[in-house]
Symmetry: C2
Subunit: 151 residues, 2 copies
């Protein structure tokens, strides 16, 4: 196996591991990765329409309706009237939702701590340098993201 194959193997393995761990962790707040992604957008942008959220996640309006339904059920957000556009709704944190979102941010910092705390700066910088290079190559090859990362 070449070094390139080894590197790809490690990246795929890490993806699966991180994804599984996040899925487990999010389930405690009745969240999924898609629903959590919505929470992150709300943290960054404040109350926004479902249209904005659908574009941010790269999903259809129908899908967003379903995702928001679940977040409302869980008590994380409410649908508020838009002040000027009566077609639209403003997806807005409840107090509980805002608290959960803050916890998500803390969890993410804690997770970064687990992954990197005490790692020699040289190695950490080498990792970031390699990842940035790979990301640049992907974009150059036309692999563009359909949705933004949240972190």
């Amino acid at each position: 196996m070449s070094q390139a194959d080894t590197a790809l193997d490690r990246i795929l393995e890490l993806s699966v591991l991180i994804n599984d761990d996040m899925t487990r962790s999010l389930a405690r707040d009745q969240l999924t990765t898609s629903r959590a992604h919505i929470m992150w957008v709300l943290v960054a942008q404040g109350p926004v329409t479902q249209r904005v959220l659908a574009d941010a996640l790269g999903v259809s309006a129908r899908t967003m309706t379903g995702l928001i339904d679940k977040l409302v059920e869980a008590g994380h957000v409410t649908r508020e009237p838009h002040p000027t556009d009566r077609r639209a709704t403003l997806v807005t944190f409840t107090k509980r939702g805002a608290r959960v979102a803050a916890a998500l941010q803390r969890d993410q910092v804690e997770f970064a701590r687990i992954l990197f705390d005490g790692m020699p700066a040289k190695r950490l910088n080498g990792l970031i340098e390699g990842l940035d290079d790979v990301l640049a190559r992907l974009r150059a090859a036309g692999v563009s993201r359909s949705r933004e990362s949240h972190a």
Copy 2:
């Protein structure tokens, strides 16, 4: 943002990008990531029972029934009788399935080429070193994989 947060951000972004790209690419052969995972196991182990596949992917027997149904529909595999256990079936490549699986392997090599070709050995090794370190920390923290990686 600390270096650790930056690194986690890059890893998550890369995960999403690679996942989206693979999903698009697999769809051309009527494959999904789960179905492709089955193809990889068959390449590595030859014909195996659905039970073995379910354990390899970490899914229920019911889920495997559905996944194999689709692979059979697409003409990638057949269900053959097990020579000694009449309860079991041996999931076996069709000629076409074997050809598609070989193409998947070539695609993976090509993908690794896109990601890493021409990258300075020092940087590539730094990337692998960092990834290995992160993987070791994850395992130390009790984040174990529920299913094997295939590559």
